[in-house]
């Protein structure tokens, strides 16, 4: 348990997102003997962000353990554990360090159920901190979610609040199929809220309306939800109703919530900190074009990172990563069309 947590009475506790993730892992380990955690520095040290803090001491070295430093090995070994009856939860230290494991992910992780016609499956969760906003060193701030969302057979979850993080992570661990769980580094400790104690799940594939409004729909997820909510609240002060849709899961995507909102507002802005070309936001744009074109009052506008590697240059990092000002401009653009 981290020092940031305060017990506030029965039923809930004030938690940061990283504390809520730690709590979800503890609940999962407590409830199911088949759950095990592993990765680089997750054992004694409790992970570089302390997401697994105290769990080895509490649940033992057989269930929470450090692995050699090799991501393909971590994911590959986890696949084998999942095939043989365990519920492995692997931590990849940063999403940008996931790439050595792509062979295992593309060739096996999402394919096993299909290639054995349901005989074998891999109920594995791969957690990884992702995204920018905290001035990390080079290659520590990537947002590779679109790469994973493109792989058949794997789910992709990206929480934006402590309560969601805990409930979605428990749902991911209990899911019979592989799930990527990307955790925004920026959100790990930036906010606290009351989080239910004990076990609960937030279902995968259900978006959340963070703000309701009639004029513009803003679709976002993970680290961008905070940014978009700020822009929506600023617009509200000027009498503009912005509906903020937090996707929560990219795969499966809650298309109905997105479409219902777009049909109501007729204007849509899609926000991500990932590079622009080929990103998951384009899937949302395609969905709107295919299914809600008649409702549109303005062209779809995307607010994204750039088609350049995430810049580790502190002074311009906040220019690459969308902020509330850029989102506000996009909202104005669809309103002024």
């Amino acid at each position: 348990m981290t020092a940031t947590e305060v017990r506030t009475g029965t039923g809930t506790r004030t938690m940061t997102m990283v504390a809520a993730i730690n709590d979800a892992l503890a609940v999962a380990l407590e409830r199911d003997a088949k759950v095990c955690l592993f990765g680089e520095d997750v054992g004694v040290m409790g992970g570089v962000f302390r997401a697994t803090d105290g769990l080895q001491a509490r649940f033992g070295r057989e269930r929470v353990f450090d692995t050699p430093l090799a991501e393909a090995g971590i994911v590959g070994m986890g696949i084998g554990m999942g095939l043989a009856g365990m519920r492995p939860v692997a931590e990849i230290q940063f999403a940008g360090f996931l790439y050595p494991a792509l062979d295992q992910i593309l060739s096996h992780l999402g394919r096993y159920r299909h290639r054995t016609r349901g005989r074998f499956s891999v109920p594995m969760v791969i957690r990884a901190p992702y995204g920018g906003g905290v001035h990390t060193p080079e290659q520590h701030a990537d947002s590779p979610e679109a790469v994973l969302a493109h792989v058949p057979g794997v789910k992709v979850v990206i929480p934006s609040s402590p309560t969601d993080a805990k409930g979605l992570l428990l749902a991911a661990i209990e899911d019979p199929d592989p799930v990527f769980f990307f955790e925004s580094i920026k959100l790990y400790r930036s906010t606290k809220e009351e989080v239910p104690e004990g076990h609960y799940t937030v279902p995968l594939g259900k978006a959340r309306l963070v703000r309701e409004g009639d004029d513009v729909t803003v679709v976002c997820y993970g680290g961008m939800v905070e940014v978009c909510t700020k822009a929506a609240d600023a617009a509200r002060a000027h009498g503009i109703g912005v509906e903020v849709v937090d996707l929560r899961t990219l795969v499966p995507m809650d298309t109905e919530t997105v479409l219902a909102s777009v049909r109501k507002t007729g204007r849509v802005v899609i926000v991500t900190e990932a590079p622009r070309t080929g990103g998951f936001h384009n899937e949302i744009a395609a969905l709107v074009a295919e299914r809600a074109l008649d409702s549109l009052l303005a062209p779809v506008v995307r607010v994204t990172g750039f088609d350049a590697p995430y810049p580790p240059f502190t002074s311009v990092e906040d220019t690459y990563r969308p902020n509330a000002t850029r989102v506000a401009k996009a909202i104005k653009q669809v309103l002024d069309y």
Binding site: G73, M77, G80, M81, H108, H114
Partner: protein, 352 residues
């Protein structure tokens, strides 16, 4: 065979069928079991090539000449242990117990061949090279975590031992004390690239030293020796002694697959030399010389395995072809709305 390749290699029955280590020869029943397994595997391999020519099986990678290496290792497992074969290890899979009809259907690219039998702990043939090695570590650790003393055995070739997954898995297995047996079948060729161009290393079993685990080198065409060292490795793993790397020194006398033409990259002089060391002939000579085998027994065995194979092919023939909508089945336990929509689209377009 050049001299360095024979370094530190255990042989029990030599190429002429003579015994060089009488102290390590098992009982007659075991010898008969080993011989039968090799003959059964060879029958499959020979018939599979014919089925392919008849258009009744797809692309197939033959393993003929490697029967000792595959059957000798697989026979060291029980059905509580895991087997992770590559695409060339049909001989290991069928020896372990994967039904022949299933294997035929697999190489016919039928989904019925992909639907692995419930309860059988054999994973489907691995196509991406070396990726099965880390899985074996996971399977082995999962067995231990669930309180069972079962092991995982994974196969690879000399080419596969160049992949990172091979090295990561050996290191993981050592560091985490995983009950694994890693079988490296050094058959001299990775499609067209000879082992001598693959690596400067001559004795591949010595790669184990880099990971602090035992490495064993064995005559891969001597099933008695292969079985002996594999049983030792399995017993060690089962007893908590950790993983072992076994290099079986053999040769790919066949083409890479039925659509490969080895004439483009090798002369067959060496192949002829290796045919002289044939694993099936070798053990049969040994058994016959000692009065443990004769033509009558050979004929009876041939009848048995021919009948078994033909019945399996008939069974495979009874399975229907997949329908278009099956493409999107079994992606997730519960289909996503997107897959449900795509399935409906397939049904609408193709009616099945």
């Amino acid at each position: 065979m050049t001299e360095p390749q024979e370094q530190d290699m255990l042989t029990i029955i030599d190429a002429s069928g003579g015994c060089v280590r009488p102290d390590l020869v098992p009982d007659e029943e075991t010898l008969a079991r080993l011989y039968r397994a090799m003959r059964r595997a060879r029958h499959f391999d020979e018939r599979a090539v014919v089925l392919h020519r008849q258009g009744r099986m797809g692309v197939y990678p033959p393993f003929g000449g490697m029967e000792a290496s595959q059957a000798g290792t697989a026979l060291a497992l029980t059905h509580d242990d895991w087997l992770l074969p590559t695409y060339r290890d049909t001989g290991a899979a069928l020896t372990y117990g994967l039904p022949i009809s299933q294997i035929v259907l697999y190489w016919r690219t039928s989904p019925h061949g992909w639907a692995m039998p419930e309860g059988l702990k054999v994973l489907p043939f691995y196509i991406p090279i070396a990726t099965q090695y880390p899985h074996a570590v996971g399977c082995a650790l999962a067995e231990r975590m669930q309180g069972r003393r079962n092991v995982a055995m994974a196969y690879i070739g000399d080419g596969g031992s160049s992949e990172g997954d091979f090295h990561e898995a050996l290191n993981f297995a050592g560091a985490l004390d995983a009950p694994c047996v890693f079988v490296l079948q050094n058959n001299g060729w990775a499609i067209s690239v000879p082992t001598t161009a693959q690596t400067r290393a001559v004795n591949l079993s010595r790669r184990a030293e880099g990971y602090g685990i035992p490495g064993v080198r064995v005559d891969g065409n001597d099933i008695v020796a292969v079985h002996h060292v594999t049983r030792e490795a399995v017993e060690r793993a089962r007893a908590g002694g950790g993983p072992t790397l076994i290099e079986t020194v053999t040769y790919r006398v066949k083409p890479h697959t039925v659509s490969d033409d080895p004439g483009r990259y090798r002369t067959e002089d060496l192949t002829r030399e290796w045919l002289e060391k044939d694993p099936v002939t070798r053990l049969r000579t040994y058994l016959t010389t000692r009065g443990l085998w004769d033509d009558a027994r050979e004929d009876a065995l041939t009848r048995d395995i021919t009948q078994e194979f033909e019945a399996a092919v008939e069974e495979a023939d009874r399975f229907s072809e997949p329908t278009p909508s099956e493409i999107v089945d079994h992606v997730f336990a519960t289909p996503t709305p997107q897959l449900t929509e795509q399935r409906a689209q397939l049904l609408e377009e193709y009616g099945a």
